[in-house]
Assembly symmetry: C2
Homo-oligomer: 581 residues x 2
């Protein structure tokens, strides 16, 4: 491609609403242009990257035996009503009416439509397994769209759905997709981790997120440098930090802690470690009758060590909290604890509550909790002696850096990640809701076992940039760069030898199937170099009259500190040798 | 591709709502599946064709210097309000609101958005000319969607928009697109005509439709077999059929024609040729004041020969009718003619009307018209003698087969076509409305001269099938067939020699870059052949145990009446030689 013929519109400054580096750089590099909040034009430069990402995904999906189709953007409400999601999906799902006032959703995802296809077209076990995918625009009406393509409203996703005759076969389909995703993210040239994720109501261990590692990532991901263990923070198991409970050594003492509601402040005041304190969190569950009216509420006290944080996903798996919980109201707290939040604890309750201790808390001794009296805590508390054993002991906290890895292989580390892919076993949740069956070998109808597999195509651009940039701009991996090589001739339109050498190199590399941009715009060298560094082309060749007189050109990789002089005769071969295989 | 791994779902019967052959065959071949009225899943088999069509378009657009981008599906109302089209577009434009009640259109076309991009990004004449295109989903909320992909609601279009600094340069951009379209439709393997089309309010001669020839086409296209002349019926110029007006030979006579309102019936009753009668059509125009209230209406009488039809587009170009007209009300007709429709004519009016005679009518003599009295006509009418010369003479009729070609090269023929592409010069209509300017060489802002260029991607599938099918199914051109070659082994899973030969041919052709499907489903030969004939794969090879024992296989082109026996040793070379280059 020649630059004049292409569409290059770089900006000196990013617009004010671009908060994160990937958004800023995509705007400055002319990859995207905002049309409305969270809705972007994919400009020619950005579209080239999108297409390369799509092609890598498509090739690996096809190789894994998946079959591409395209499902419509507008999906009739009736299908979403079959699964109950028409009502359950919040305002993120964009609903609209056609001229005949029929209701539609602008697809945020396509489980309903693909299950509808399966129940019509996959009649026999002989047609299974089948994995159908599409690369298609999605819409999620985010309340506050931001961060460019990282949290846009209109975006491109690859979504795949597998249909199997039984759980075992579904497991194989899941493993195939997991392997295909590894290949995809390897080929995308990104540093990433596949981390185990929560499976929610479906259960089982078949849910993995693919996280691109970046300091700016929204998600905390937990891994063990000494092993393969990796999980997102919601799922990562926290082992007890104590091997066993030590015998009491202190008497229980009520201590004044005026105004000190935070564990850290209490520990500081009492001159002890934060790890000797216990944090109280009060939840509530409701029982309802058939009409939905609340007939009984139960108050729960969850205890985690002062230096730990409650993990709400884990709390949601505790027996009794599985069907949903809420934070207790202040009235409920006062009624049960006789005290407002800030000085709560498990001792001296007004009314019984269900006490759930984190695994570590259950093994603590001589610990400090709130006294259920304003401005007082109790120190030297011991289970069994000062209060009954907890009703339940469970893993209800987030792991922290340095925790033992649950696989026993070492200690855990935490890094930030950007979720760009997710593989998920769905079981028969959708097939059952939509009565989607096939005839099995025994002649009986059975529900499909399903899996779903998403990759955020446009989000990958943002994630790749968050991971790969410097002060000058983007640094694309070779495989998804809008152009692999930029040829920058100085004086293309006035120095004949420069033009001849640039054209020759362009022809040579293009003939070799390399994606080259020849900058024939006649920009000053500084502006030209700045453009290609901002845009993030990974390989650059500079040709100048002066250099050519010595038979030399300059090559510089986007991460190289300096240019390398290369003999013109060897230039094409030199560049080719530098490209990723 | 192996058939088991792919997704093949043919149907014996098309659904009842499929009226035309392309819709029926696309349903039966499993190319599309209806999700809602006018909204289809593009199934894997159909998507392969779509992708091939898209790729041919993309390659030729790129070759012609156009640059691809993607504009969003949801476009904010504000942009459409700038051009006034938010109000002008009818209910075909799907409007919706996001969660913040901001209004959007689901793009039916993208002039507004692309002009918005141009005014922001193309600041200087140095950036021009520029042609931006996208291949993107569109939505038009047809009142009565039908005919499958031929008139769907959600469909795929390639839309391109050119920006030039002046009219001359815009003309070159237009010619480039016209040439690119020729290449595209040539490569698609379709029989088509590029026909001149009406330019409406823009004027000029830069509007061409690309029409795929098919008996079932909605459009009448006019061409001269002896020359390059081709135009759609709306535009095709009708020359006068008479060289000059003959002198009167008959006296004017009022003749009873009870119940005969149609010219054909009158001619039959009077024993004369239909070509001696004149048909009266009554229009009206309104003048309004600033508030839009009608202050004056004018009634028009348009006269065409009895065997001709009024062309409303041409009527709309007559001086005085250019700003819009309507058919006159019965009250207006009675007021001016003293008679209800059926016996109207230019003689004996109650109130003056503007008389517009078609070129041929103006040269007629001794003709027959209505008498403005129920059940009577007047014969032997002559201009000048019996009534004044017409106020205006104009080309206001459709051409008919056998008319002289306007280029003087022969006589016109008419065939049916399906419009699949359109190139159109827009001038500065949108750039002016949206104040989209660039700085010209003289430092002054100028409006972009624009053109727009559409191709109906999904519609091409329907058009290709309407043109290329037989009783057994679709006959795809090689370039867009879902698979180019179908290998049909008989007994693939039981006859080892068949499996070996089929696998070898599959490997050979695949290695040569040919798109092959190997039918490993184990279907009976009849069912297998019927499937591939229905789906329309253009080349088929049958391998059987019996044939192989004689060292032979069978090749059959989709249009061949019979199979050809081919020695297995020469099979791959034989098939390759049969493929379109």
């Amino acid at each position: 491609m020649r630059a004049r013929q292409f569409f290059i519109t770089t900006l000196k400054e990013a617009p004010a609403d671009a908060e994160i580096v990937s958004h800023k750089l995509m705007m400055r590099a002319g990859m995207i242009r905002k049309l409305s909040a969270g809705i972007y034009n994919y400009m020619p430069m950005g579209l080239r990257v999108i297409r390369k990402v799509e092609n890598i995904i498509r090739e690996e999906m096809n190789r894994a035996g998946a079959v591409e189709l395209t499902m419509p953007l507008l999906q009739p409400a009736e299908l979403w009503q079959e699964t109950g999601r028409w009502d359950k999906m919040g305002p993120e799902m964009l609903r609209l009416q056609d001229r005949h006032e029929r209701e539609f959703a602008f697809q945020p995802t396509s489980e309903e439509v693909v299950t509808d296809i399966a129940r019509q077209e996959l009649k026999s076990y002989r047609a299974l397994p089948k994995n159908l995918y599409q690369i298609q625009t999605k819409f999620r009406d985010e309340r506050r769209p931001r961060f460019g393509v990282m949290r846009g409203r209109e975006f491109i996703m690859k979504d795949a759905y597998s249909f199997d005759r039984d759980v075992e076969s579904a497991g194989k389909s899941y493993e195939q997709m997991y392997a295909a995703y590894r290949k995809i993210f390897d080929r995308l040239g990104l540093t990433y981790r596949a981390v185990a994720a929560d499976t929610g109501a479906i259960g089982g261990d078949r849910s993995h997120e693919f996280q691109v590692i970046a300091e700016t990532g929204e998600d905390a991901i937990v891994y063990c440098p000494q092993s393969e263990y990796a999980a997102n923070i919601e799922l990562a198991e926290a082992l007890p930090l104590l091997a066993e409970r030590a015998a009491p050594t202190q008497a229980m003492t009520k201590v004044p802690t005026p105004g000190k509601t935070a564990c850290a402040d209490v520990a500081a005041l009492l001159g002890t470690a934060l790890a000797n304190t216990v944090k109280s969190l009060v939840l509530a569950t409701d029982e309802t009758d058939d009409s939905g009216a609340i007939v009984k509420s139960t108050v729960w006290l969850l205890l985690v060590r002062g230096d730990h944080d409650l993990n709400e996903v884990k709390a949601g798996k505790v027996e009794g909290l599985k069907n949903g919980f809420r934070f207790a109201t202040e009235a409920e707290i006062v009624e049960h604890f006789g005290c407002k939040p800030g000085y709560l604890g498990p001792i001296g309750l007004k009314k019984p509550v269900k006490v759930v201790a984190d695994r570590t808390v259950a093994l603590m001794s001589d610990f400090i909790t709130g006294a259920n009296e304003a401005d007082f805590h109790i120190a030297g508390v011991n289970w069994g002696r000062d209060l009954p054993e907890p009703d339940l002991v469970a893993d209800i906290r987030n792991v922290v850096e340095g925790d033992a890895s649950p696989d026993g292989a070492g200690t855990l580390a935490i890094q930030r990640g950007i979720e760009v892919g997710h593989v998920f076993y769905l079981g028969n949740k959708y097939s059952k809701a939509m009565n989607a069956t096939f005839l099995d070998e025994d002649g009986k109808p059975k529900f499909f076992e399903m899996g779903c597999y998403g990759i955020g195509v446009t989000r990958i651009l943002g994630a790749a940039i968050e991971q790969n940039h410097d002060a000058r701009g983007i640094i694309w991996p070779d495989s998804i760069a809008p152009f692999t090589v930029a040829i920058c001739p100085i004086g293309y339109d006035r120095a004949e030898d420069v033009k001849v050498a640039a054209d020759a190199l362009y022809a040579d590399l293009t003939a070799a199937g390399i994606d080259v941009i020849l900058d024939d715009r006649g920009e000053r060298p500084g502006a030209m170099f700045a453009d290609w560094e901002l845009i993030g082309v990974p390989h650059r060749v500079v040709l100048s009259d002066r250099g050519l007189k010595e038979g030399q050109a300059e090559y510089q990789g986007r991460r190289d500190a300096e240019a390398t002089k290369v003999a013109v005769a060897e230039l094409a071969a030199f560049v080719k040798a530098r490209l990723a295989p």
